[in-house]
């Protein structure tokens, strides 16, 4: 199951958000599961069309995801996913 880590800045809005395993075979599925666990979470990561927000980055391993429009990047069972704010937004 993919392992997901977050910037601590997201805990300001979701205090119970914690690094850990989240089921999903794509980045989108992981975000959908996080939305179920933390209602509203997805709207912080992506806009209502599903696109990754301009100043948010998601990495799988050390690579930024390729599909910022649909978040369709596939995840291996042992994938490590990082959800971070981009330096561009600061």
């Amino acid at each position: 199951m993919p392992h997901v880590a977050f910037t601590r800045h997201l805990q300001r809005f979701f205090p119970t958000l914690a690094e850990g395993e989240v089921p999903g075979t794509t980045v989108r599925e992981v975000i959908d599961e996080l939305e179920r666990r933390h209602p509203g979470f997805a709207s912080y990561i992506a806009d209502e069309t599903g696109r990754l927000r301009r100043h948010v980055n998601i990495f799988v391993g050390e690579e930024p995801i390729h599909d910022r429009v649909r978040l369709g990047d596939a995840l291996a069972p042992d994938a490590r996913v990082f959800i971070l704010q981009a330096l561009s937004g600061g």
Partner: protein, 391 residues
């Protein structure tokens, strides 16, 4: 008269309380977050803040306990299929007949909030980038895009159903450029106190649009407007209102600070006339405040523009008319008259009773308690101020 002021600033929400004759800010709320607008619902006391977070996107926040705790809301969003005609900034290789292209709308900013009538508890309106009017009927829990305005013929018709069937007349606003886009925005929402189904919205850049049936149908209300930047200054569309407001005690009287001057209407928006007085530097600016009792009285904070967008002559002043715009008087006492580069944004001036308050891009907040004649500084070191509203 109100003893509380809400500031929406680049770094959070500030609540100022008047105690023993002094205005004192509380510790900042939403620390570090840009707040595009903050206001209190006069019907139930809820305080609203429109958060404009650079990373995590625009969200609404509300406090039902006078600012002690806040709840962030994520429901305000465009429905699937809400498309708009894309605006393209001119480029050197642009062809004259570029094909119409469409874009799926995503919320960039909640620019303004307005509260429904006394008889409509829980009804709240929000004006957004790109060019949306949203309404909540349940106190902000759920929001719905006003489809008749979104699909108005001035925007190309119903783009949910297919491609444009009419010409898009809504242009982009420079206020959207911070988001890397060039889209229209709704910055003014006026709910008529006599009939909350009668609503005016101000659009940059298109003009003023009115509904008399609670948002089912909309008509442009730009007769008498003059746009000096168009070959036909009296065009039906293409106007750039910066802010529009209404006198609550004389609701047929509307005021509009426009890119091309100050305008007023005595017939509830059906016709407008320009009442600028460039000789006393009343012409360009962003905000206008209507007196809440006298329809003849309004305040503006002029700027040198639109080439400089600074205080006129580096001296800050507020201008007031008491005769419906026929004449204006400038008031400078208590305001800096040297090296002042402050600009006052469209939502950053408000009047209530004898009190008038404004905040500037330079983080200065000034208040007058004698109808704008003399001014006192409330603080020099606030973040850039986006909105000022008496609570």
């Amino acid at each position: 008269m109100s003893d509380q002021i809400l500031l929406g600033t680049r770094k959070g929400t500030l609540i100022l309380d008047r105690t023993a004759g002094r205005w004192t800010p509380r510790p900042i709320a939403h620390a570090g977050m840009s707040i595009s607008y903050a206001a209190r619902d006069p019907r139930d006391g809820t305080i609203w803040a429109a958060m404009d977070h650079a990373h995590w996107g625009p969200k609404l926040s509300r406090s039902k306990d006078d600012g002690a705790t806040w709840e962030n809301l994520t429901q305000l969003a465009y429905p699937k299929g809400a498309r708009f005609v894309e605006q393209h900034l001119p480029t050197p290789d642009q062809t004259a007949e570029a094909p119409t292209t469409y874009k799926e709308a995503a919320l960039l900013k909640v620019w303004v909030l307005a509260f429904g009538g006394k008889e409509q508890p829980g009804t709240i309106h929000a004006g957004t980038l790109p060019g949306g009017l949203f309404t909540s009927r349940d106190g902000g829990d759920t929001w719905e895009l006003n489809r008749p305005l979104w699909s108005h013929e001035s925007r190309g018709g119903d783009l949910f159903a297919g491609d444009a069937t009419s010409r898009n007349e809504w242009g982009g606003t420079p206020a959207a450029m911070a988001y890397g886009e060039f889209v229209p925005g709704i910055h003014s929402i006026v709910v008529d106190p006599r009939d909350p189904d009668r609503i005016f919205v101000g659009v940059s850049c298109a003009g003023i649009i009115e509904t008399r049936d609670g948002g089912k149908t909309w008509q442009g209300r730009n007769r008498g407007m003059l746009n000096d930047y168009l070959p036909n200054p009296e065009a039906a569309w293409g106007h750039d209102p910066h802010f529009v407001t209404q006198c609550p005690a004389d609701p047929d009287r509307l005021w509009q600070q426009n890119h091309t001057g100050v305008f007023t209407s005595e017939d509830c928006g059906q016709t407008w006339k320009r009442v600028s007085e460039p000789d006393v530097a009343v012409h360009f600016g962003f905000p206008v405040a209507a007196d809440d009792r006298d329809g003849q009285t309004a305040w503006v904070v002029p700027a040198k523009g639109d080439d400089e967008r600074m205080a006129v002559g580096a001296g800050l002043f507020v201008a007031r008319t008491v005769d419906g715009g026929a004449t204006w008087q400038a008031f400078r006492e208590g305001l800096p008259q040297e090296h002042a580069y402050d600009v006052v944004y469209r939502h950053a001036l408000d009047a209530r009773g004898d009190r008038v308050c404004f905040g500037s891009t330079t983080g200065n907040v000034y208040i007058s308690e004698d109808r704008g004649e003399t001014w006192r500084n409330v603080g020099h070191n606030f973040p850039p101020v986006h909105s000022v509203r008496f609570a």
